[in-house]
């Protein structure tokens, strides 16, 4: 499996320390803990990031946001960039009512 494939199958969430602020061209993500400031430069990526928690895996978040499959590698790379600064985190698997339990 490639790293992209791995991530597509994983559940991810926006970190609780992060605030997402809409901008005319996308959104600004600010991490109150590490003070990193990252700009999401496309509305579609913002939709993906906002939708992460509502989906059992990244694949479905991308689909729900209407991202064409040909662009998934680029979007996953961007998500990995966000993960590197703790903007997004892997979902804890010990949650009692985890979304992934009911995944289709």
């Amino acid at each position: 499996m490639t790293t992209t494939d791995q991530m597509l199958a994983e559940p991810w969430d926006l970190s609780p320390a992060v605030a997402l602020r809409p901008e005319p061209f996308g959104a600004m993500a600010y991490h109150f803990g590490n003070r990193k400031l990252t700009f999401l430069k496309r509305m579609q990526l913002v939709d993906v990031v906002r939708g992460l928690s509502a989906h059992p895996d990244v694949r479905r978040a991308l689909q729900a946001a209407g991202v064409a499959e040909a662009q998934w590698p680029g979007y996953v790379a961007a998500l990995q960039g966000l993960a590197a600064t703790d903007m997004i985190r892997p979902r804890a698997t010990s949650e009692a009512h985890s979304v992934q339990e009911g995944a289709a």
Partner: protein, 421 residues
């Protein structure tokens, strides 16, 4: 101070670089400076806000909280609180708590006077707060010359208290001057010693800075020294993006632009709220020409930020006149608006410290007219905190006055005839 009827429509290019988007402005500042008071216990020679005396129209505690509420609503994540000396406002600690408990992170800029061990412990246990200590010399001699006797000790004591209390990563903010450029390594050592991060910033000819700029601003060779030092040591050093006018050095020899947006943020991604609620494009531009409105008179901060005529103008493409034909324009973007304004240079011309020397030429040409002094909240009478630098200049002024008076007659009876303090 005109506020437009409706929010201006801005045509944005699709995609485009982040900088291009920023130059067109945002719905809210990314961060901003908020001067809480013009009162100050010190009388620094180069004070950008000419502080010293409280303005009686200062925002009340409730008015300040209303501003914080707006910042929260606008999702301004981080505000830089300064002054004057913000900690001498009696409600400072209350406002600090209010901000950090309403999703607004705070960094406050202080000379350290109120940071005793107890306060340091409180700060160490407070989330979302950062402390920045002002220091303009790595030795008492150099520092106190511009900041006043004892100010070096006050700053170091504050740093020590913060370290002892377990406060992590305070900032030491240094204004680079002719006298301290040779101390950059020592500044770094002080920062390392107290577990702090060094921040170097540019001296602007703003506020009282206009009076001392000729004597204090770095010489051309020192600008080169500063640039080289930042390239070699700057990885853990902040600059507040205040040296983008030096980026042209990097173009010539491939050293590269300094880290930062290399963008004048005034009115686009940053601004200033002053102690009486006036909103300026930038803390280095406290002057009517850069006044966008007032939070009390113009319906709140958001209204001013989004609809002021001044900010709308700043968010439109800027003309940079002769600078646009310079090979290094892309790197320096014509430099600092405030530096040009307060040295009487045209805004569409070179920065006074243009690394190619065009600014020096413009300054020497003799055509410039200095703008009249903006707000001056300096203390009416000097106190024992007055820095030696100002004492010397006052003495010079007194001697100059004396020289123009007619000589005292040998027959004068009063033993104090002709004597001036």
């Amino acid at each position: 101070m005109t506020i437009l009827e409706t929010r201006p429509v801005i045509a944005r290019p699709e995609g485009g670089s982040l900088i291009e988007q920023f130059e067109l402005g945002l719905d809210a500042p990314i961060c901003l400076t908020w001067e809480l008071t013009y009162a100050c216990n010190l009388e620094c020679a180069h004070c950008l806000s000419s502080s010293g005396r409280r303005d009686p129209r200062e925002l009340s505690t409730e008015q300040c909280k209303a501003v914080i509420d707006e910042l929260q609503r606008m999702q301004v994540f981080y505000v830089n609180i300064g002054g004057g000396e913000p900690t001498i406002r009696p409600d400072f600690w209350e406002l600090l708590d209010y901000a950090v408990s309403h999703d607004v992170g705070v960094k406050f800029s202080t000379n350290g006077v109120r940071l005793n061990p107890e306060r340091a412990r409180v700060l160490a246990s407070t989330d979302y707060v950062d402390v920045q200590i002002s220091l303009d010399g790595a030795t008492p001699e150099v520092n106190d010359y511009v900041r006043g006797p004892g100010s070096f000790d006050t700053a170091i004591t504050a740093l020590q208290n913060l370290q002892d209390a377990g406060f992590k990563d305070a900032k030491i903010s240094v204004v680079c001057t002719r006298q301290n450029i040779g101390q950059l390594d020592e500044f770094k050592a002080i920062a390392d010693q107290y577990g702090a991060t060094l921040r170097l910033t540019r001296l602007r000819p703003s506020g009282r800075g206009a009076d001392v700029w000729d004597e204090l601003h770095p010489l051309p060779e020192q600008q080169r020294e500063l640039y080289d030092w930042l390239v070699a040591n700057g990885e853990n050093v902040l600059t507040g993006d205040s040296f983008f006018h030096l980026s042209a050095f990097g173009v010539a020899d491939g050293g590269g632009a300094l880290p930062g947006l290399n963008l004048c943020g005034a009115g686009r991604v940053v601004c200033l709220i002053d102690p009486i609620g006036d909103v300026y494009a930038c803390p280095f531009a406290i002057h009517d020409n850069f006044l966008a409105g007032n939070v009390l008179a113009d319906g709140g901060f958001e209204t001013v930020w989004q609809r002021s005529e001044l900010f709308t103008e700043l968010r439109s493409p800027q003309t940079s006149g002769a600078c646009t034909s310079c090979a290094f324009f892309d790197a320096c973007r014509g430099g600092c608006m405030a530096a040009k304004f307060f040295t009487g240079l045209p805004l569409d011309g070179p920065d006074p410290e243009c690394v190619r020397g065009f600014g020096e030429d413009a300054l020497a040409s003799g055509d410039r007219v200095l703008p009249p002094q903006g707000k001056d909240h300096s203390k009416a009478n000097p106190t024992r905190n007055q820095p030696v630098m100002l004492t010397l200049s006052r003495r010079d002024d007194a001697l100059a006055v004396q020289a123009t008076r007619p000589p005292v007659s040998a027959c004068a009876e009063n033993p104090l005839a002709g004597f001036t303090l």
